[in-house]
Symmetry: C2
Subunit: 538 residues, 2 copies
Amino acid sequence: MTEPMKWWGWGDPEKRLELGEDARATLEAELGAAEPSARVELEEVTMPEARALPDAVTRAAAEALLTGHEDRVRRATGKSYPDLFRTRSGRLDAAPDAVVTPRSAAQVLAVVEASAASGVAVVPFGGGTSVVGGVDPIRGPHDAAIALDLQSLRHCEVDHTSLTARLGPGLRGPEAEAALLAEGLTLGHYPQSFEYATVGGFAATRSAGQASAGYGRFDELVTAIELMSPAGRLATLETAHTAAGPALRELIVGSEGTLGVITDVTVRVRRAPAVTRYEGWIAADFESGAEAVRALAQSGRLPDVTRLSDEEETRVSLALSSTAGLKRSLLDSYLRLRRRTGGCMMIVGWEGEAEDVERRRALSSRTLRSAGVVRLGGAPGRAWSHGRFDGPYLRDELLDLGYFVETMETSHTWSRYQDLYGAVGDALRDALQGQGTPGLVWCHLSHAYRDGASLYFTFVAPRRAGAEIEQWGAVKTAACQAIVATGGTITHHHAVGRDHAPYMPAEVGDVGVEALRALKERLDPAGIMNPGKLLPDA
Amino acid sequence: MTEPMKWWGWGDPEKRLELGEDARATLEAELGAAEPSARVELEEVTMPEARALPDAVTRAAAEALLTGHEDRVRRATGKSYPDLFRTRSGRLDAAPDAVVTPRSAAQVLAVVEASAASGVAVVPFGGGTSVVGGVDPIRGPHDAAIALDLQSLRHCEVDHTSLTARLGPGLRGPEAEAALLAEGLTLGHYPQSFEYATVGGFAATRSAGQASAGYGRFDELVTAIELMSPAGRLATLETAHTAAGPALRELIVGSEGTLGVITDVTVRVRRAPAVTRYEGWIAADFESGAEAVRALAQSGRLPDVTRLSDEEETRVSLALSSTAGLKRSLLDSYLRLRRRTGGCMMIVGWEGEAEDVERRRALSSRTLRSAGVVRLGGAPGRAWSHGRFDGPYLRDELLDLGYFVETMETSHTWSRYQDLYGAVGDALRDALQGQGTPGLVWCHLSHAYRDGASLYFTFVAPRRAGAEIEQWGAVKTAACQAIVATGGTITHHHAVGRDHAPYMPAEVGDVGVEALRALKERLDPAGIMNPGKLLPDA
């Protein structure tokens, strides 16, 4: 098992992405000074005292019960800005009363059933990487809440003929990849949270990886799934495809722990690629770049990785990269070609057999050139690949410096894509301004389809010291409202959790919410599964 | 609107696929003589007298109410063998008490609400092509049953930028294609029922077209859907993709009219192909042919159409084709290459821009040759394309001759594929033998995936005159039990309807059935929507 991440932030405790003097000066020049934010020590973290668990739950948990200070702190939050801020400050409003790490799917069911019978809320916990409050330890009406950590369920059984694998929900991204690579295979699922997020979490939240165009989103990879609900075990059939009614698999995928605990996920896998090739290209502006991506998607020539930064993301990331360990050649190539003012960086990548990669690359390249996009070469692609999981490390540095930094994502059809891009960007800028903290807002497209694409916004501003959560709430709300008003989805791949639950009626309508409630009430009559997530308060 | 089909059988009343003397002699030699089956005239068909509808329903239906003899006969059954047998015999056990053809989605909702309030069962009716009892007019506990025919809802609104189209549920396959072709587009969805099945039916049953590898199964084409349920309107968001919880779209797709009436379907469309190219190839046997298809699917080189007949289907279809209007060249090419004994016909096809088709064809061909499959040329492909919707016409001829003929389909992963093929084939042959009517059983693979493929069985035997329904029931049950015992799905693309409902607990488990019941009870508390379908009796 990989080492636990920083208790107070993201990732490998040994790794830092320190911003150099130039980058810090740039940020200060553009955003004004921020008040550096201190971090407490682990022992100093305060949280509500643990409530005692009913005997039935303690018995079912047996030796899988953890009750230490660090055990509870580590399962008290995910990794959204408010999560990080509260953790670093050492003031946790809530924490699980205990942590249970079941050794088998049967023990998961026993713990869930005991919890349902004795009124204990169960919060399934994988990598703890949620950025939408998905693992908030909310007791709801219950007497206690446990974090049910799937870390011990890490099996990997490969069917080489069918190219599928049964994976344990507790496998982290790199663990799943390592187990598959040992068999010459890959899942090809690389969300930014890859290093710590788990297979169960990928399924529960409809994760999308950076190479989703090539390998499929996680929901497209799942062929069968097992859920331990308070009403019992629900497992879908492992078959190539079925027309036997509504797709229950698609109900469990995305259920975010509110219906039960995912204990087994069968996924399609592929032979590990012989070659991976990533390149940088540059588009004149975000609109023409997005049109180029649309042309790729609609002609079936989409690379496996396709990312398009807007002007602001291109500018900021280059400004920060020169001092953040990324290759200088990225900036150089860019500047050479920058006779056009501004421009939007595009990263495209292909993976597979050498011959397939070259053929597909030639086809994609032709489409890109026809759309006026200019090739920068392999250096920016390699730089992107090298730093593809670094975003959250950089966020920790920005938090140290005292900045408010958060991300949001959505998607829409191509015909409404630029409207949504404009509306959300404006809402973020206006809301930051309204907080008295004008900020930087940038965006990229990272998942494209024949009918549309995702939008992923990052924003940075000085924090309002003493009013950080209020500041976050106001900006988040403004952006969510803009998404809803423009008809976009409240989440393309971060899921709903606690933070997006109020927008579910806008997303699926009142009848849709009722349908989800009906399911929840039948599978979890006592309402113990992950209270406060996914569904809006009744 | 296309003309209505034969009231007593399949398809265009002007079209016959008469079997010639040779073919009839072959059948008689192999199966023994059958007792030709007479057909009654439309006026002679008997069915239960229509019950009166409550005023509320009559008012909501207004001018969309039809109560004529033919109106009722035409919505009394689908097109399974027992359906056809009962209709031809003129003895219908059940018929809708009236037919309503709402003029708008709002009127659909009004009729559904009035029916729910006054205890009238509502059976949504599209093309009436179900082969699983999906439109059986079952009243259930209610006083009356209406067929709600969507024939008036036939809009087509194209979004050229996003390459999507909003389609009315009442559009038949050719109508949808014609409307799209007028805009230079195609849906590319060609199930064998294409000529008469409707868009609403495609969605309600998770239809799969002959080119599903290229264009996607129908469930993969749907981006948004609207359902009028007794609890109100449920519409999913039209966006490129969403991670906002369980996929309600995937609940409505496949709901088979049991949750409400589908009134709008937004689908991905493509530019109409410039070129279509179909070819025949021949594999040594079904196992090596299936391995070749697996190699195509797992390397990403699957043609848009890929069909592999087993030895028996190859033999029988060639024996019948020489006199059934198919090109003689099919047989000639085959015989020239038949130095290997037996063999399995494979039809492969590519559609799209000429350059893409040629490139993809070269790649597929290389994989096929590596797998030992031999190219026959374009003639068998053209012959297949010419007769691709002819199966049901041939069935009518076989019924006229007095044969029992039916189809069944399933799917499994590649690692269990040959097991399932063997088990179902054996079950069918044994059951036919057990009925005292040994028959011919043949099979093809027509939908392939990276992880597995479908199996489509056809069987023909002399009918047991006077015990046709019993004969069908015994054979169908034996095959279904074999599917369940081998872990295959009870349906890859025919849906559940009434005939497969008893196998749903095996398919999704008791907890899965409970989840579906919970949904049904919330959206349709009075249980008026398509009673007796999808869910097993409580």
